[in-house]
Amino acid sequence: MKYKKLAITITLLVVAVGYGIYRYTAEPTLKPSLAVAVAPVDLVSVQSKVPSMKPKQITVVEKLPLSISDSFQLMAQAYASDLTLPAYSIPLSANDSTLLNPNAYIPQAVLLQDGASASIVLPQYRFSFPEPVVVKLEVKGLAVNGASVSLRSELAGGTEVLVAKTMLGSDGEWAITLDAEEDWDGPIEISVTFSAKGKKQTLKTGIEYSHPTATITGVGDIRAEGSDMLIPVKVDVELAGYYRLRANLYTADKQPIALLTGSDKLTQGSVVLDLKAYKEVLAQYKGPYVLSTFVLERRPAVPGELTQYGHSEEPAYELGDFAVESLSDEPWQPDEQEMQRLEFLQQMAGD
């Protein structure tokens, strides 16, 4: 009943506005650009835009009622879709910029007086000893007289300056290459101080600098294991611990195929950490394959311990050809907890 009254009111409004427009409008000069879409909508309000002399348009606002369970249903479907593949072998596309560049540094511009801005620009977020750290300062809209950089540890009590240097530069861009020292390890704060207009300003950012706790030295022969292509990655471990390796699998012409993850407790010395590529993610891609974009973490074994990192001797390893058809076809089965999560989401959706 309430809606009926509302509909009548709206109809009267439309007629009134329409009549007004009809009285004052100019001759039509345009043709419809889109057909009227017919949909079962709840028309709840009409707003008119009536110019003082020649009114030409009205705006109709329609509200489509939505049940919250619909939203949960869509999410449950999305999660179910994610569970069709194993977590250790996730398909990649060229759009997965973050997964393809897991060590990217994102400059954060800082607004200065009179519309000027400044940012610290770094080539990456994590560095591995003895990699140098190249620090750039980009300033727009302000003439900088001089700039300097200093590094210090972000760990508690890390007040000691690790290194301090004057930056070289001109035309709004200042830069310095800092050669690493033995005691750089862990989260490090980078401070860049510059002067302009007789004032000084300091910008800060953070990076991760690691003494590699393990080194990837090569890749063994790939082989079939059930429905997976198994990639044995050779690792020289300096510090034993719980390791997780992520690497991206590519075609020979650098098309991304899959993000592979392997975890294991590794002892000191030369060991092998296996990565696996599930058949379904390989199906569209022919070999030879290439393994690259390594992130080797030594995970905190106890709370309060920090994540440490390993590195790779080479940026990429060629894996050669592989007969994907030799892999078995059994579908992936999510584990018990994953199924419970899916059931929870389906329950929220009212399925």
């Binding site: 329409g18 009809y22 409008t25 001759e27 039509p28 043709k31 419809p32 889109l34 009227v36 879409a37 949909a39 909508v41 030409k56 348009q57 109709v60 606002v61 329609e62 509200k63 489509l64 009622p65 939505l66 049940s67 919250i68 369970s69 939203s71 999410m75 999305a78 994610d82 977590a87 996730i90 759009n95 997965d96 910029s97 997964l99 954060q108 800082v110 607004l111 200065l112 007086q113 977020y125 972000e154 760990l155 401070s191 000084k200 300091t202 910008l203 950012t205 953070g206 991760e208 992520r246 993850t261 995970r299 106890v302 709370p303 309060g304 907890q337 419970q340 999560r341 929870f344 329950q347």
Partner: protein
């Protein structure tokens, strides 16, 4: 006497049954509390603050809370002194044996990601059973970092040439200008640092995102945040976007206010992050309160909503000589009367 004891027990049992989402116990993980940077609370005070943080809606609907002080860092004392004792307690008590749902707000999202990535290993190493985390509900999640934290770190290091509006924005957020001596968890919230902390947990816990686009600071802070924001967190973070970007919505076909239109939404999300609901009028803090601030829309879309004709239409009435422009909004029923948190809770129970 027996009857009253029975009623008391029944009441307690009823209360216990209410403290759940979809039948699972609820654990709360709160967000950044700016005043902690000065007051540096410890022990009981941290717990008291945590209780107040959730008082308006979720506190009495939860079984447990993980409370932590904002003057510390996540991977250091927040974890070793505050998160870890609670994880052990949850494991020993068996609270999560059959499954738990975690509800997080703001920085609690980032703390939670660190928990999801590490809890099983730590508890196993301590001879304890890992927690069975069924899902997380992340309100105004800051797991993708907070640009204001980067700016606060710069303001704290001296403000000789900084724009005065920027300083105002940081002071509005924090309540005062920060000093360089202690910015605590703000270090973890810097965009680069946050996005690298436990970036990709192995465990496939679904992370349900609930985002707002209002502001408690009259839009002053929003000038320094990319895309739409809730006054503190940009949508790339609250939506759980895979990449930092200037996004106008969590969806590419629905705006924050529910308007069906082509928007600049994220093309991908962090692993197992699913945007669920969003609303134009909810500020950063509003999403966990108990009052309706605005109508709420769904942040995910059926394919048919992506059809261009369905988003909006315009037509020309040749006879009368006027254009009709139509805008369509998709809105959760009764969301003008029910808070976002209550909508979620009611849907789950």
């Amino acid at each position: 006497m027996k009857k009253s004891l029975f009623l008391l027990l029944a009441g307690l049992l009823t209360g216990a049954a209410q403290a759940s989402v979809g039948g699972y116990p609820v654990v709360l993980v709160h967000g950044f509390q700016p005043d902690n940077l000065q007051s540096k609370p410890t022990g009981e005070k941290v717990s008291e603050n945590g209780g107040q943080y959730w008082a308006q809606y979720w506190r009495d609907r939860a079984d447990e809370r993980i409370d932590w002080p904002s003057q510390e860092r996540i991977a250091n004392k927040i974890t070793s002194q505050y998160v870890w004792p609670k994880l052990q307690q949850l494991s020993r008590s068996g609270t999560c044996d059959s499954g738990c749902v975690f509800v997080t707000h703001s920085t609690g999202d980032l703390v939670m990601r660190y928990i999801i990535d590490n809890q099983a290993l730590w508890l196993q190493n301590a001879g304890l059973k890992p927690l069975n985390i069924v899902a997380t509900f992340d309100f105004s999640g800051a797991g993708g970092g907070v640009e204001l934290a980067d700016l606060a770190a710069n303001v704290a290091s001296g403000s000789g040439l900084l724009d005065s509006t920027l300083k105002l924005a940081v002071s509005l957020w924090l309540g005062e200008l920060p000093s360089s001596s202690n910015i605590g968890v703000l270090n973890d919230l810097r965009v680069n640092t946050a996005r690298q902390l436990a970036a990709f947990p192995d465990s496939r816990v679904p992370r349900l995102r609930f985002a707002g686009a209002g502001s408690d600071f009259l839009g002053v802070t929003g000038a320094f945040l990319p895309g739409e924001d809730d006054g503190v967190v940009a949508s790339h973070s609250s939506c759980g976007a895979a990449s930092v970007g200037s996004y106008n919505s969590c969806s590419r076909s629905v705006a924050f206010d529910g308007k069906l239109t082509s928007t600049n939404g994220p093309s991908g999300f962090m692993p197992y992050h699913y945007p669920m609901l969003m609303s134009k009028g909810y500020s950063h803090g509003d999403t966990i309160l108990n009052s309706a601030k605005d109508e709420v829309t769904s942040a995910n879309s059926r394919a048919n909503y992506l059809n261009g004709d369905n988003l909006q239409f315009s037509t020309y009435d040749e006879k009368r000589g006027w254009w009709i422009f139509s805008s369509r909004y998709r809105l959760v029923s009764n969301s003008n009367k029910t808070s976002m948190s209550a909508l979620v809770y009611q849907a789950a129970n």
